[in-house]
Amino acid sequence: MQARRAAFAGPGDPVPLDARQHVSALYQEHALPLVKLAILMTGEQETAEDVVQDAFLALYRRWPSLRDTGSAVGYLRSTVLNGCRMIHRVRHRRQGVVLDPPAPAESAEAEAMICEAHREVLAALRQLPPRQREAVVLRYHLDMTEQQAAEAMGVSRGTVKSATSRGIAALARMLKEEEH
């Protein structure tokens, strides 16, 4: 038994247990809200889970060089938002060659449980430019202050203010058009 345990700490330098434990503990606590945030940004649960997994993997890789482990949640949120922007860019590029791109697919369960009115809002949200979408989701879904949203998005407070304002105006316009 001891010989086998010794092999565990042998050549290859396994990751220190505290990094693994810390990141795993963070995952247990924060993965679900981050996936929910990513779902609102990307519209797809599977993509959202991929983005969140990648964010935690990036945090895990960076853990030994992380100066302030207390800022890990903020780092994760920014990484998730970056990941969602990347997804948007890839889709945008693909749209150049795909004539009729399929709408982002909701799961069957989500389809069944979300009423038509909510679906319209979510569809409109997906049509916003990424920065406006981030701003309105952070402000009105996560109830962040302008300052907190600015830190998460990596922009100034003024940018958040204007992006939120434009986003809400665009949503109101799209939803009004739907009603007519």
Binding site: M1, A3, R4, R5, A7, F8, G10, P11, G12, D13, P14, V15, A19, R20, V23, S24, Y27, Q28, A31, L32, V35, K36, I39, L40, Q45, E49, V52, Q53, F56, L57, Y60, R61, W63, P64, S107, E109, A110, M113, I114, C115, A117, H118, R119, V121, L122, L125, V136, V137, Y140, H141, I168, L171, A172, L175
Partner: protein
């Protein structure tokens, strides 16, 4: 309602649907830190290949000169049957272990049994719990069984591993309908296309219903189902207590079926309990589990020796090899507390074909009792990966752990196998 309120309500409605996320997949090792020294990296970009080429050339020249000098061809190293068997055992494995000393939650690790490296450490989310694993024959494909505590049901994840890459492990939820019962048999077909699952539902001691189902890995569709009514003792144990195994070119399944002894009202045993190994043809029609399967082997549940006050369970754990032979692990002990049962009966691993039994390994030595678990077998049933748990008088039980390849009368240890604290080490809790 304002746009902001509509946005809040819609976002909440969309996200409330999501109650769980798939487990985190972390690689076993961090990449080496990147050196940012410009001069060094430039040298490495072209200097290192040239240096490596020079070393290889020099080595080749030396070997050629040596060969000419003594006039003989270099002899290949003699490979013994054991080393050949060791070379053919799967390199990568998935093992389940409790996440902490006081935790009832189980995680999965992916390891390399050649060098002891941890490839990935898969932690389920708070409400999830891994409790079974099975492997295909390609050494890369596994299925992990998950129990959701919040929404009590068993679901399955495909685990594909790509060792020593940026993403060494990837879990994908399989589209198989959840099962609301205790699963006691789990076997992924060697080609990785079908998953066999055995489970039992019961609300009282006498109304048990046992199920065996084969699912398509690609679509999740149930391809075949067998069912039988009545008690079966061994279907209440570990994740592959039933020893479910694919045989006969993925056309058949073998499983253990134990019937309890019939006891009269006065307490006298009318019919002794028995253990059978049964085989079912998965390509045949529907589907009564006992009527459509045949007994290929039968063992007594336990053999006692009054004179030495010992007992042996001849086939306490088993797996069938792809050619149909059955590898059994025995339990041997004394029923008298503190008496060394191994003086009279030895725990062992045996391979049975229809014709005869062959001892793969028998422990020789004193011990209080010994328990043998078969974890994997080669296609011919001549070698197996096994776990032998020996208890010694006055010594903690873990001191007697023996993990290794059994065959040819020997147990060859697998020293690089990682056994994390809290590992379960039974069939269905570790897969190769």
């Amino acid at each position: 309602m304002s746009v902001e309120d509509r946005l809040r309500a819609a976002a909440r409605a969309r996200t409330d649907v999501v109650t769980s996320v798939r487990p985190l997949e972390l690689p076993g090792e961090l990449p080496a830190p990147v050196r940012r020294n410009r001069r060094t990296s430039r040298w490495f970009s072209w200097g290192a290949p040239i240096a490596a080429a020079a070393v290889v050339t020099a080595l080749a020249l030396t070997l050629a000169l040596l060969r000419q000098a003594d006039g003989t061809q270099p002899r290949p190293s003699v490979s013994t049957s054991d080393s050949a068997a060791a070379a053919s055992i799967p390199r990568y494995y998935v093992e389940l272990a409790y996440t902490g000393s006081t935790s009832s939650q189980m995680k999965a690790i992916v390891g390399d049994d050649r060098n002891g490296r941890l490839i990935a450490d898969l932690h389920p989310t708070a409400s999830q719990n891994f409790y079974g694993v099975t492997a295909a024959a390609d050494d890369r494909t596994f299925v992990v069984m998950n129990y959701d505590n919040l929404n009590p049901q068993t679901t399955w994840y495909l685990l594909r591993i790509a060792p020593y890459t940026a993403h060494p492990a990837r879990l994908t939820k399989l589209p198989i309908k959840p099962v609301f019962a205790h699963v006691s048999g789990l076997a992924l077909s060697p080609d990785g296309r079908e998953l066999a699952v055995m489970w039992r539902t019961a609300t009282t001691q006498t109304n048990a219903v046992s199920w065996l189902a084969v699912y398509s890995m690609s679509s999740g569709a149930k391809l075949a189902t067998w069912v039988t009514y009545g008690d079966n003792e061994n279907l209440i144990g570990g994740p592959n207590e039933a020893g479910l195994s694919w045989v006969n070119g993925d056309r058949g399944l073998d499983f253990r079926w134990a019937t309890p002894p019939r006891v009269s009202k006065s307490g006298k045993v009318v019919t002794p309990g028995k253990l059978t190994i049964r085989a079912v043809d998965v390509t045949a029609g529907p589907h009564d589990l006992l009527a459509d399967s045949r007994v290929v082997m039968q063992f007594p549940r336990s053999v006692t020796q009054q004179k030495t006050r010992t007992f042996v369970t001849p086939c306490a754990s088993s797996l069938a090899a792809r050619n149909g032979s059955v590898v059994c692990g025995t339990v041997a002990a004394s029923w008298v507390s503190g008496e060394e049962g191994c003086r009279y009966v030895q725990p062992s691993f045996l391979s049975y074909s229809a014709a005869a039994g062959k001892v793969l390994y028998r422990y020789q030595g004193n011990c209080l009792n010994g328990q043998s678990e078969v974890l994997w077998t080669d296609p011919s049933g001549s070698h197996a990966i096994a776990f032998l748990l020996l208890a010694f008088k006055g010594v903690k039980a873990s001191a007697g752990d023996k993990f290794g390849v059994v065959g040819g009368g020997r147990l060859t240890p697998l020293p690089a196998l990682i056994v994390p604290s809290g590992a379960v080490d039974s069939a269905g809790s570790i897969a190769f």
